[in-house]
Amino acid sequence: MTKEIKLYGHGLKEDDLKRVILIEDKPSAKYSWSAGTAMSRFLLELKEGRIIGRKCNKCGRILIPPRMYCEVCFRPTDEWIYVRDIGRITTAVVSYISADRARLEKPEVVGVIEFEDAPGSGIFHRLNIKPEDVINRSAFGMKVKAVWKPKEQRNGSITDIEYFEPVKE
């Protein structure tokens, strides 16, 4: 299978698209997902400005995001448990592009936060820290706390938390 072999296929450049027949279609795919028991409670608690997890008494883990079964022990989880909204950054990145690949005016910093009271837990969220701290890696392990939207603006969504920002040790 050498370089000289001619393979099937007709590549097109972007302006070739003007010269071929294109058929456009937009799928109408709408869904209404139920959140499920665990996530519904999680979202309701977020509205109240609280973070809640599920505990598996067998392995001792507090699961956040919460779920009604522990995937390691394969058994139902046992109880609801509140945790403080404080954690440490396990990884962080600086984004200069949006989901559609367009250039952002202001770079966004996002990452994963492990809750102090629940080792092994973690959620993805926005971080209010300087991009330089991400690039020089001082963000790793940084202690952060959730900054909540005002109560009137919360509606039971992950965005009830505005972002996480650094706190003193």
Partner: protein, 358 residues
Amino acid sequence: MFEAASRAYADAGIDDPRKTVDAFVTCEEDFWSGISIFDEFTPDQLGGVYKPVYTITSDGLIGLASAYMKIRTGLFDIVVVEAHSKASEIITLNDIINFAYDPIYNRPLNLNPYFLAGLEATKYLHKIGGSRYHLSLIVEKNKTNALKNPLASYASKITAEDVNKLKPIIEPLNPLDIAQPIDVSIVVVLARSDIAKKFTDRIVWIDGIGWATENPSIENRDWSNAAYARIAANMAYKLADIKNPAREFDMAIVDDKISYKELEHIEALRLTGGKNVLRLLEDGEFNIKGSLPVNPHGGELGVGWALEASGLVAVLEGVHQLRNEAVGRQISAKKIVIQSWRGIPTTTGAVAVLTIDN
């Protein structure tokens, strides 16, 4: 899914699936669930984290076939198959079915996706000399059978005359000819024969299984023959050493997502033994008390359409019947055939022969 899996493991006598189960198959299509790459969301609930899990984008019975092959390789002892439907979460169901049509040749016509069924039903009825009334007989049979099935969602005490009176939505089909969606999660546990005996003595055997795809192009397919079912049945019968399908089965579950399909599938599976399928239907031979009960649980017309879980709904009923657990509609059955079809616009389906020892 966790609940269905837990029940299946309890039924099989498996205490810790994380230790015992070797592989997991899930049957789903992205556009049914609204999530791309659906298997991302499955391992945890099945006990499959850090284990071989994958998706078959097809009906549960074809998922079962892949599990069957895996066990036959000798590499896997116990394999779990899962399929589910959350049709209630899909707001634009017909649009999604439409999305399966060829984007260049068919979709631009922008028709009700069931137009294909109307065309095929017309041609098929014409070919066999059948009428609207025969379709109504099937709807009556399956919906009344479903009255005895606690898992059925669309049972009703309806007569063929009542069905006949309804206005068509696409000639010759009226709303009751088309199975309506349900939500369900089904988990099935398969094991190699020597292993199975360690868990239970009520073993249901897969004696044979087959599947086939005929032709996705609607312009190039056979419009009055379920060839995919015939090819799949031949493969299954060969493995199960079935020589005379019309005589060897105690009952049959065939796909009736759209009423006329039940007859097409019965013919394709060679269950008529040379007799006229319409006469057999009229004489009640496919009823529960007949010589070959078909869809005693109500079929999809009575139970509901479970998207890619349809094949496993058939397996579930087959297992209940063979294990004498089909309260209210029990048939004395030792050997049965089950069949599923993926629904419009596909020509894909699978067939399995299930048996139980004495």
